[in-house]
Symmetry: C2
Subunit: 378 residues, 2 copies
């Protein structure tokens, strides 16, 4: 009996599960939002993941349902579970990735280090938080934000007035999340895989460089990180995976503060951009690890295969011509760099691929990865 | 414009092109012999590759046609070329992989080191060769043999009488190939990639261990090989790729003789079992390299990523239950070993998958790979 994994969502994360699925011998199928998406090769169905019947029908042909994103509604997730379908990560865990206020409250309960935060339901409440935190803060919509969307740095409560107005129109009511502006040295990401039966495996913590709220570059492992902070990051990742009951891959985005603490910024319960380095740089890629985890198979070795791996995103892609037309130039100049593209049309700021370089000299590896990615820009 | 490669043949070699195609962003399609084959995920057509119309129709949707095997008839290959379709490797090269007598004659012409050989069309001719070569020799049918089929060690000409009888029935007539029995220390394999525009790239020469005429194990690079013989092997590989006009991957199977020579045993013009180590062990896998070569893209770095990589074939698979049922055991015992399976039903002697292990201590790596493969046996 071939093991069958069904992925809801046809984006690049689903696409990048195809290679390890084919290599191990797992049958991967994808419920895509539309035709021609990044994961089209494995798409066995096209439909709306908000529609229970669509998802139920898709789920009947697989052993476990997992996800390309965290947007499947709780009602659909819970109906799948009620129908006896294995869903990983499950709704109890995913609620904390779907609602940043629920996430902050749960992390407090678990004693995880995080920025000061508050739920604010009106301008006055936000202004009080601002007054208590030096006059500036980060306001976030609890739901639906990603890659910098739904996130705003404000220095006056009035700057979030439109969001409060939207909240007022929402029958469910609700609040915005406000967080202190953290004085951070850099951003890190800690990934952990967890099986339904409990086994966990932590990747080395990596440094992530964001531009305009989007991940631009990852260095694995994070350079010059103290052993103490690396241990804290791992413990935070493992603690959250266990405390929230995550199954599959978890990414914990962290701030490394100027006073040598790590604070939890965001969570993602799926393979994550900060782990793409592992495709070429780790003994087990995050995509293989995710498949193993959701199938409750023993986890693979997450160790780096060499001193350094650097991943640089291809954002937007060439202004003229397709990505493929740059292949010859980049491959000729960088025969040792690995090129990954997602079959998506270039569009400003859109993630359309990434490159990875690896080796034992960090400066060389960073240079190679950036230089190779530059061939796809402009 | 996405680059499109069409593969004729739906076996495991086509299957193993899927992962790098998805990663780079090449659209791979496969003309499979039947439904449900190893490469079924990329199969866009099912049909008979002996039928020109079937292959022509398949070829119309791709930029280049390449192969999972070397069995497509010359007439079909030449008609594709005449129709203006890019075919790599092309018919002029493939004829030498399809006819071992033509191959031996061509290698003589190129001055390549090879065993004494002769074309023999009757028992008397074979007996003369035997008498001149110590009374034992290897007889091969020039066409259609692989994995030890069509190969027989004889010590009397009468032992090939049935094959001569078959020849006599064949309207085309023809001859058998007879080769001296080489006194060899071990077998090696040299792989070379070559682009239509001429660029070539050689992998490190590897040691291959055959059992019952089938590749069982590969150690990359070949241990304890003198630098001189490694150079000769590379020169032979490069010379054959160029001399025969091979495009894509070429594998040259070699004998390392007890008197320190290398002699050409067999050729394969496609990714080859002796190169599966490169999926996990080289900066560029032979499958990615093949795609780059047939698309005339710059070739990738074929360097090993660590000291040693060992590949062990899974032959036959478990007598009871499927391969997948062994996953948990092997993954638990060997989290650092890479498992590859081909989606094929286990059958005695059939190649249904392989495992690779890598590291800097050869004994450990050999042990790990063999121990992991053992989980799939018996």
């Amino acid at each position: 009996m071939t093991l069958r994994v069904g992925v809801v969502g046809g984006g690049q994360l689903a696409r990048m599960m195809i290679a390890p699925a084919v290599e191990i011998g797992i049958e991967l199928s994808v419920l895509a939002e539309q035709e021609g998406m990044a994961a089209k090769l494995a798409a066995t169905a096209v439909g709306d993941y908000h529609d229970l019947q669509t998802v139920l029908e898709f789920a009947r042909g697989v052993d476990v349902v997992t996800f390309d994103h965290e947007h499947v509604p709780q009602a659909v997730l819970r109906a799948l579970v009620d129908a006896g379908i294995a869903v990983h990560p499950g709704p109890d865990a995913l609620q904390f990735a779907q609602d940043k206020l629920a996430m902050r409250a749960k992390l407090d309960e678990l004693g995880m280090p995080q920025p000061d935060w508050s739920a604010v339901s009106d301008v006055a409440g936000l202004q009080r938080f601002l007054d208590d935190h030096g006059g500036r803060a980060v306001v976030k919509t609890p739901r639906g934000g990603y890659d910098g969307k739904g996130v705003r740095v404000v220095s006056a409560a009035a700057e979030a007035e439109d969001w409060f107005a939207t909240l007022a129109e929402d029958a469910r009511g609700g609040a915005l999340l406000v967080e202190e502006l953290v004085d951070f040295r850099r951003e890190l990401s800690q990934q952990v895989a967890r099986r339904p039966s409990g086994e966990m495996s932590a990747y080395p913590v990596v440094e992530t460089v964001q531009r305009d709220g989007v991940c631009a570059e990852v260095i694995a492992p994070a350079p010059h990180l103290s052993a103490r902070l690396a241990d804290v990051a791992r413990d935070v990742g493992v603690g959250i995976a266990e405390g929230l009951g995550v199954t599959g891959m978890l990414a914990v985005e962290l701030f490394e503060t100027t006073d040598d603490r790590v604070l939890v910024n965001e969570l993602a319960m799926r393979p994550h951009n900060s782990g793409h380095w592992s495709q070429d740089g780790a003994a087990t890629s995050q995509f293989e690890q995710h498949l193993r985890a959701v199938l409750d198979l023993p986890l693979g070795d997450p160790s780096p295969r060499q001193g350094w791996t650097v991943m640089v995103n291809i954002l937007g892609g060439p202004a003229e011509g397709g990505i493929d037309e740059r292949f010859a130039a980049v491959m000729s100049a960088h025969p040792d760099v690995k090129v990954h593209t997602y079959g998506k049309d270039p569009r400003p700021g859109r993630k359309v691929g990434h490159v990875t370089a690896f080796g034992d000299d960090l400066d060389d590896v960073v240079y190679d990865a950036r230089a190779a990615a530059d061939f796809f820009a402009g």
